[in-house]
């Protein structure tokens, strides 16, 4: 059976597997989680995982300082992580991608203006800007996604713009214009198919970054509200009790790492298989 190159790449397959697994966990959280993630159990606080002495089978990964089941919180935390990852990266891709194509294709003043806007935007270290945006917008899942879109679109824009410039210079784009195609048609039929591989790669890498940014924001307490479990928040809570229960710190760390690693592997695999120059075609 013939498969396209990207489907045969080990990296893509493994990365995709990891990502899908976590995605499924997020979607089916109510079915998978043993307990309600916010249910406090003040008698059984800071319990170690079930396989260590003192642990209980009822709480497979133990409990946190308020007696909440760590495993359940991890699974529900995946919801926030994946929601942010998918929606925010697509949003950033749309905003950055559209502006990149407009800037690269039309050039001249438009390009200059967009370039300057990107310059201003990028003078902020991303962490700082997202923090400031959250201060201004207020907490909540929607605002987190908005903040990430508003911060990361610049990266998309810059990287894609260089690619758009390269494609724009190719004669076949000029030829399309000469033959009478409108700008819109030329961009969508001639330029876009050439930049889509890079777009896809960037989106998957961006998903990993979005997960990290959300974790940072919830670590600082500026992400979703306190009654929604998020991995960064779990880390912030666990940090105070690091001597008593280091496991509470390890689990969310691992969760973040594995998710980001999955996205990075996927993105790297896609980059290697989709980035074929002119031969992106079945022979």
């Amino acid at each position: 059976m013939w498969l396209p190159a990207w489907m045969r790449s080990a990296r893509v397959l493994i990365g995709l597997a990891i990502v899908l697994l976590i995605g499924l966990a997020a979607v089916f959280a109510p079915l998978l989680a043993p307990h309600d993630p916010n249910e406090q159990n003040l008698i059984a606080t800071l319990l170690p995982p079930a396989w260590l002495p003192g642990g209980e089978a009822e709480f497979p990964f133990g409990t946190d300082s308020l007696g909440r089941c760590v495993l359940s919180r991890l699974i529900y935390g995946a919801r926030v992580a994946m929601a942010v990852a998918v929606v925010a990266s697509f949003g950033a891709m749309l905003l950055g991608g559209v502006l990149a194509h407009v800037a690269g294709y039309f050039g001249g003043r438009v390009d200059w203006l967009i370039g300057r806007v990107v310059d201003v935007w990028m003078s902020f270290p991303p962490v700082i800007l997202s923090l400031v945006l959250m201060v201004g917008l207020g907490t909540g899942l929607r605002n987190v996604i908005l903040a990430i879109v508003l911060v990361d679109w610049t990266r998309f824009c810059r990287v894609l713009r260089s690619e758009v410039l390269v494609v724009r210079r190719r004669d076949y784009v000029t030829a399309a214009r000469l033959v009478g195609f409108s700008h819109w048609r030329t961009i969508t039929r001639e330029v876009l198919p050439a930049t889509v591989p890079l777009l896809i790669t960037l989106v998957s890498l961006e998903m990993g970054i979005a997960v990290i940014v959300e974790a940072i924001l919830s670590f600082v307490g500026m992400s979703v509200s306190a009654d929604t479990p998020a991995w960064g928040q779990m880390i912030a809570d666990a940090r105070q009790y690091v001597y008593q229960s280091s496991w509470n710190l390890i689990f969310p760390i691992l969760a973040i790492f594995i998710t980001v690693f999955g996205f990075n592997l996927l993105g790297d695999g896609l980059r290697r298989t989709l980035d074929v120059r002119l031969t992106a075609v079945r022979t």
């Binding site: 201003v120 270290p125 700082i128 400031v132 201004g136 940072i216 280091s246 790492f257």
Partner: protein, 337 residues
Amino acid sequence: MNAILLLLVRRALISVVILFFVAALLFCVLRLLPVDPAAMSLPPMATIAEVEAKRREMGLDLPLPQQFLIWLGQVLHGDFGISIHFRRSVASLVASTLPATVELAVIAMAIATVLGLGGGLLLFHVRGRPAEPAVDFGSIVLLSIPEFLWGLFFILLFGVALGVLPFTGRLSAEFQRPLVTGFLLLDTLLTGRPDMFWDALKHMILPAFALGIAFSPTIMRVLRSSLIDVYHEDYITQARLRGVSERRVLVRHGLKNAILPTLSLMGVQFGILFGGTLLVEVIYSYPGLGNLMVDAVRNADLPIIQAVGLTYCVVVLVINTVVDALYLVLNPKLRIA
């Protein structure tokens, strides 16, 4: 030399304009906040009339552009306002915390550079060999661990499990911090206190490494891909045809060209790293700009948020300018003879 001066002047002018827009952006974003700075600066029992009076005093009833210009005018005079929470001048708060962050960032960047360049050379060296997939995989693993995870991991490993390094603050409690430049490592040496120097260094190792290791994989990968691109160029083949040794080809021809895009990236990374210090400072309770910012955010202390946000941008712009100047020095194609 002239070209560099010209560039610096141009960049300075552009930076000023950028800063203006950055300040405006900050200002607008923060005004979206549904928090009343006037009410925040008065005790909870204040009457509505007192709050109103305070609002007028703070100029909060004026139209937004006017407020911005007033603030701008104050900033140009060096007056960044008073912190609502700390009730101290913001300028003094920033001045006391900035050197700590700069020190941390510089050391972290140095670590990232050493690891990044070394790792990049290693990645390049193993290309085409059996070890490559493993090393490459390793670099992706490294890439997936952000600085705050490294920070936490180091605390767990070196602080809690092994207990060999401290992970809170800049200096152990028994020491009194000398105040000369604000850069602790420098100050301890200047005041002739080597024991304090070692203590400060020990406190800095974990946060600096957390940052440095986190930012090295990007540098590694860019150096590798730049070298691979450069090695496809004709002049490398020609050098070999002239009988130049592989080592010389790598150093004199390969690296000299590949370092340029790597340097560009490192400049960008330094800016992001500088922002990353915020997290590391929170994790290690390191008294720097980041901790100040986080406190201010938690307390909705607008003057600090504005000033610190602006400070971060100034630092990033300075870094960009320096990197651009360096790039100009190293890349003869940009010089107009």
